[in-house]
Chain length 316, copies 2
């Protein structure tokens, strides 16, 4: 076992830790979508999670994993999206400060949501280097604990709790598929799934315009430079080193999908399932539609990761 | 007990009858909405029901209540909306014909959905008289059984099953609120609720521009002529006579809300709960927001009735 990856027991601990704060999100089925794919699909609705995304699980576990001594100066992260918002909400549940470093050019509505959740927003230039430097500055100045969006084992353990619930709610599964960006969710889910049943087949869904995880698995070397080109704004991060290690250990296969396939899947999820999910979330359904033969006849869990969508700017 | 109203046992039978076909829709909570209303809110997500609305419950119960002899010529109704679609889907589950009388001027997307579900669509002029005449013609010509959208006791019993689930899923409630148009849902829910626990307070939510149920209860006489003026297209029907009787028997109070209040509530449900529901569905949340003191501190069930929304024509 790697020091930088959570164990199954850590995920079970995380589930107990976040239970007073997180939503046990529903799992939904749909007869017509089952017929369309010839599979039994169980959609885990993390779009209905607190903050509108699964990210609250990891952030909440990280915040409540801290000792009082560690927690007293708060937490810090760099994120302009769902992780920043989730960390702000999680910190509020413990009454501690959240510092969120936000790059120039971030979507204003998202930054406002982070502020509304009570976080202290720190601005920086729109490069990875600037973000990391600023976060380090804030950490040094405040004593806040860094909570990385995906490479942190506490975050991975928190995200993995989604699969513990999905397994219980569905009555068992043969395959699970989750989107992959930085890989916090997918690595946590893989560890959780194989703690439950070693036979579960684990899949990631990745935009073909940000297929660094697929390439890293195929080449055996982590791609550490990549210019993403995809509408899936939640999946543009490079896969983290520990996350990639978890994908390898758990023999996770990554299926790539085009933005067109993902947008069509997002539309179908709305039309049939009546759920508006983030375009990143729709990659999982796009992957099942694309590789029908892989999933035919199987009980498949799909993690719908978030619902923070601008209804005035739908991608279709 | 009235001959034209279902008993609690009929609702229990309906639950068993529709179980193989209907979705046990999720119930969701939201900490921020609880804080906003100072109540404990349990949202029953019938927008995630088959066909995107609670209507499938009643239609399915009606279809499967028929003997083989009765069922052999199919079913008929007049509806341009969710009931027509629900009856079409329900008939398909039994492999029988569904005839749906649709007035000229009905929304094309809805008519197409009814056709896609396998129903035979019959056109008529856009008056109540024309609809009823056409439905009677079809009934006579085909031998199909009429399934009225709300005044049919089998339909009321089916709609009431939503409350059996909601009660179970929420762990008990002090008040339940559902929208009222024709009153099929509200009457079924009231009978179900008081079969479970006589102390449950039952409320209807009605657009002030279609407040015939509120007026009928206040005046003691059923309003049988009314020109509705509301964006809530699902709630424009006049309350049915047996439905009104059920509301009286069960001391249901009707809260009226303006379209502005309903639209604001619909937007808030999207922003916070991440569910896009029909504007008619949002009346229940608008009513709780409007009459906060009534619901403060209480465990309140809210039936979100449907999710068949045109995302390109949101009302805000």
């Amino acid at each position: 076992m790697s020091l930088s990856l959570p164990a199954f027991a850590d995920i079970q601990d995380a589930a107990a830790r976040i239970a007073p704060h997180a939503v046990v999100t529903p799992v939904v089925n749909h007869a017509a979508l089952d017929a369309l794919t010839d599979a039994h699909l169980y959609f885990k609705c993390e779009n209905l999670q607190r903050g509108g995304a699964f990210k609250f699980r990891g952030a909440c576990n990280a915040v409540w994993s801290l000792t009082d001594e560690q927690a007293k100066c708060g937490v810090v992260t760099h994120s302009s999206g769902n992780h920043g918002n989730a960390l702000a909400i999680a910190a509020a549940t413990r009454g501690i400060a959240a510092h969120v470093v936000v790059p120039e050019g971030a979507v204003r509505a998202k930054v406002e949501a982070i502020e509304r959740a009570g976080a202290i927003v720190h601005r920086c230039a729109a490069t990875i280097a600037a973000r990391e430097a600023k976060a380090a500055d804030v950490q040094q100045a405040t004593g806040a604990v860094m909570v990385h969006p995906y490479a942190d084992p506490r975050v991975m353990a928190g995200q993995g709790t989604a699969v513990l619930e999905l397994w219980q709610q569905s009555g068992g599964l043969e395959a699970i598929i989750a989107p992959v960006g930085g890989g916090g969710l997918l690595s946590g889910c893989a560890i959780a799934a194989h703690g439950l049943a070693s036979a579960i087949r684990m899949y990631g869904a990745e935009p073909s315009g940000a297929a660094d995880a697929a390439q890293s698995l195929a080449s055996g070397t982590r791609v550490d430079h990549f210019v993403p080109n995809t509408v899936c704004d939640g999946l543009r991060a490079l896969i983290g080193a520990p996350n990639l290690e978890a994908l390898r250990e758990h023999r996770v296969e990554v299926i790539t999908v085009s933005d067109e396939e993902t947008i069509a899947a997002m539309k179908l999820l709305w039309q049939q399932l009546k759920l508006v999910v983030e375009v990143s979330s729709a990659t999982v359904f796009a992957a099942v539609l694309k590789q029908r033969e892989r999933f035919a006849g199987r009980r498949v869990g799909l993690v719908l990761t978030g619902g923070n969508v601008d209804l005035d700017a739908l991608p279709w």
